[in-house]
């Protein structure tokens, strides 16, 4: 007779077998049996957050920075609904999460019981799949399948809803054999013919560009190495989406910077004018494409993606290669080597005019800004932060808004998995809990949340988590007292009617840090900035850094919505030269 385990034990046995070392969670009535079992499983450490959304974002930060799935454990009802934002965020940005929720006992489901909600119903559109476990004998299989669904194909969040009575009931524990294909779903669906076609296009291109995204990061560090190899072999320029930053070294000459709404002039113009676009693991998001009818009109487009539904969703492509980036790039490089296609030389000659053109665009220096000696320019703050941390293996998270774009523009990433930001959903309040998750995964590394004062207040309570677990995260707040991106849009498009975008009665962040039992530092002038940043870096405790920046600064360059890539709005320096009046700006 095999040993019988309770549902709660089975949950932890599954987590053990999946090599889960940390879970982020918050207890409550419907998960108490699981919490009761925690003490018997030493290999699994529970991180107590202060709000379930924080558990979700922390698990996302953990997952993004390690490539492993993040796990969160929350209770029924409000516990589950609080986690919905994080699940949706993970769904949009393809982050593997396994969310375990408690549920009211099966006999009470449907009776509007205390803390009951239709968790699987609510989370159906924001998970890859979810399960309500109504039979204890299914639990182990469902748990293992949950990990499989979350981590295979295009990664994403899944949810397992376990009623309280199931957590008490007993069953045998079966380990799980991975199916080769889940319901016939295969992820590599390309042929050698596709690869040959790609190489043919590469060898003919005169104005090519690589456009890379988060798929490269999700495919593992090896994929980034292969990408670098291919980009160096071809000599092509490369640009990256927000999520793809780090898969190619930002300080390399072939890197044109980020593209899209706040991307560089050279990246966007190259996208517009190219004759071959090779999309590697990006999804033609609307912040990237701008006006879709005028998106890169003359180019042949290649799309390499693991998700067949990403192909032709927003932009029609000429060659689709459905597969894992790592495997597609491996085949491509192998074929190049085998055919001894020596285009590394011939190609570079063929595209030399293209590089000349790119250098002209580059000379616009679209990320430049007007410096100041009195106030700290936010871009300057990021630049200094980068200069003072670039020798350390730094992990950066962000909130959402201007500071996020400035961080993406001015902080240079050279390795994958070092940059955690909410791109698809654009969740303010993501960065602080994500930093908690990153620091848990990398206890010895420097973890900085580049934040805005409005965003960070949305999940500020997680400072308490950071203090409890001695996580020396650094919250670097670019404080302009505005919801900066909202203010920028209002300035440019709504006749400077700054409706509700100013935050009066902000807390004193330094005192707030002290109240949480961590360290508060404030920088007011450019002169003292470096010293204060160094002070922050030398503090081995959580720090809230209140960096008072220029309140009026806008984030440029910018593609105004509804415009194609070649109609960018550049920064104030350029605008002065072109004498774009205030009226002209509101019209864009």
């Amino acid at each position: 007779m095999p040993k019988l385990y309770s549902g709660a034990e089975i949950v932890f046995k599954c987590l053990e077998d999946q090599n889960v070392s940390h879970i982020f969670g918050y207890p409550g009535g419907a998960v108490l049996p699981i919490y009761d079992e925690l003490k018997n499983f030493n290999s699994i450490k529970h991180i107590l957050v202060r709000h379930e959304q924080g558990a979700g974002h922390a698990a996302e930060g953990y997952a993004r920075s390690t490539g492993k799935p993040g796990v969160l454990l929350v209770t029924s009802g409000p516990g589950a609904t609080n986690a919905v934002t994080a699940l949706t965020d993970a769904y949009m940005d393809s982050v593997p999460l396994v969310c375990i929720t408690g549920q009211v006992p099966t006999h009470l489901i449907g009776t509007d019981a205390f803390q009951e909600c239709d968790t699987t119903g609510i989370t159906r559109p924001c998970t890859k799949h979810n399960w309500l476990v109504k039979d204890i004998n299914d639990l182990a299989e469902v748990m293992h399948k949950a990990f499989e669904v979350a981590t295979t194909g295009r990664p994403g969040p899944v949810l397992v809803d376990i009623p309280k009575d199931i957590q008490f009931q007993k069953s045998k524990y079966k380990n799980y054999k991975k199916n080769k294909k889940l319901n016939g779903k295969s992820h590599d669906n390309y042929s050698q013919k596709n690869i040959d076609e790609l190489i043919n296009l590469i060898s003919k291109a005169k104005k090519p560009i690589f456009y890379t995204g988060g798929g490269v990061i999700n495919s593992g560090t090896k994929a980034s190495e292969l990408l670098r190899e291919l980009v160096y072999a071809t000599g092509f320029p490369i640009t990256s989406t927000l999520q793809g930053l780090g898969c190619f070294p930002a300080d390399d000459n072939q890197f044109l910077g980020m593209l899209g709404m706040h991307g560089t002039y050279e990246a966007n113009n190259a996208m517009y004018s190219c004759d071959l676009m090779i999309n590697v693991g990006a999804r033609f998001d609307d912040r990237i494409t701008g006006k879709i009818d005028e998106f890169s009109p003359q180019s042949k487009k290649v799309h390499i993606d693991i998700d067949p539904s990403s192909i032709n969703k927003n932009v029609k492509v000429d060659l689709a290669i459905v597969g894992d980036i790592k495997s597609v790039l491996t085949s491509t490089l192998k074929t190049i080597k085998k055919s001894k296609n020596n285009f590394s030389k011939s190609n570079k000659h063929q595209i030399s005019n293209w590089w000349e053109q790119i250098q002209k665009w580059r000379s616009k220096r679209s990320l430049d800004y007007i410096g100041s000696e009195e106030t700290i320019k936010p871009q300057y703050a990021i630049e200094r932060l980068y200069e003072l941390t670039k020798d350390k293996d730094t992990y950066i998270t962000t909130e959402v808004g201007q500071h996020q774009m400035w961080a993406a523009q001015h902080y240079k990433f050279n390795k994958p998995n070092r940059w955690m930001t909410s791109g698809g959903l654009g969740t303010m309040g993501y960065g602080l809990p994500a930093a908690v998750g990153v620091q848990i995964a990398h206890p010895k590394k420097l973890v900085i949340d580049i934040a805005g004062e409005a965003s960070v207040l949305m999940t500020m309570q997680e400072m308490s988590t950071a203090v409890q677990y001695n996580l020396p995260i650094k919250i670097f707040i670019l404080n302009n007292e505005y919801m900066g991106m909202v203010r920028q849009w209002q300035e440019l498009l709504h006749d400077k009617n700054y409706s509700e975008s100013y935050t009066a009665a902000l807390p004193d962040f330094v005192k707030m840090a002290e109240a949480y039992g961590c360290v508060g530092i404030r920088a007011k002038t450019p002169e003292e900035l470096d010293d204060k940043i160094i002070e922050m870096l030398n503090t081995d405790r959580p720090v809230i850094f209140d960096c008072l920046v220029d309140k009026q600064e806008n984030c440029f360059p910018m593609i105004p919505s509804g415009k194609p890539h070649n109609q960018m709005l550049l920064g104030p320096k350029d605008q002065k030269e072109k004498k774009i009046t205030g009226k002209g700006r509101t019209l864009v």
């Binding site: 890859k128 016939g184 498009l493 509804g562």
Partner: protein, 182 residues
């Protein structure tokens, strides 16, 4: 752009809509219909009709037939998005004009009228395999199988013969010949 004060771009050109019949084979498990239907409503796709039932009791496979309209791009998306759902095994897509596919809907008509009218009603249905399922001296229930638009016009035309109630299924589809969809 002058009139667009949005953080999003304006909609592109409008394209022609086609009617497609999408057939989905799914694991018959709790919530699977909600997943399929939720995908349609969540992404703004149309459902004109829907028919669903288990077709394989041993393997618990249900067959869902959905009539939808969309641009070619949208129909492609529907198929690809459906295929991503975990309980979905396979997805077939037929154009309504496709001669190699049989489409049928069933309808039940209840007539309340005198005998003369009831006979005329049955007569009017005779092209659509009518079966009288219930009969009293002042009413009957007739079952017909036909195409959607045929049932549409029938339910209009039969009013004069005392049609008081209509109940109809969504369309179901099957390929002609010996081929089956894999």
């Amino acid at each position: 752009m002058a009139n667009s004060k949005s953080a999003y771009s304006s909609a592109g050109k409008k394209q022609k809509l086609d009617t497609h019949i999408i057939v989905v084979w799914v694991d018959n498990e709790a919530g699977v219909l909600a997943r399929v239907v939720g995908l349609f409503s969540g992404r703004g796709y149309n459902i004109e009709s829907l028919a669903v039932a288990e077709v394989d009791q041993k393997q618990n496979i249900s067959r869902i037939t959905i009539v939808t309209t969309g641009t070619p791009q949208v129909v492609d998306q529907i198929k690809l998005q459906l295929k991503k759902l975990v309980p979905v095994h396979k997805v077939a897509d037929f154009k309504r004009e496709d001669k190699n596919v049989i489409f049928k809907e069933m309808a039940l008509f209840k007539f309340v009228a005198n005998n003369g009218k009831l006979n005329k009603a049955f007569e009017a249905c005779k092209n659509f395999n009518p079966v009288i399922l219930d009969k009293t001296n002042k009413s009957n229930v007739i079952q017909i199988t036909a195409l959607r638009r045929e049932i549409d016009s029938m339910s209009k035309n039969l009013k004069k013969f005392g049609l008081v109630s209509v109940s109809r299924t969504g369309a179901v589809a099957m390929t002609r010949g010996s081929e089956i969809f894999k």
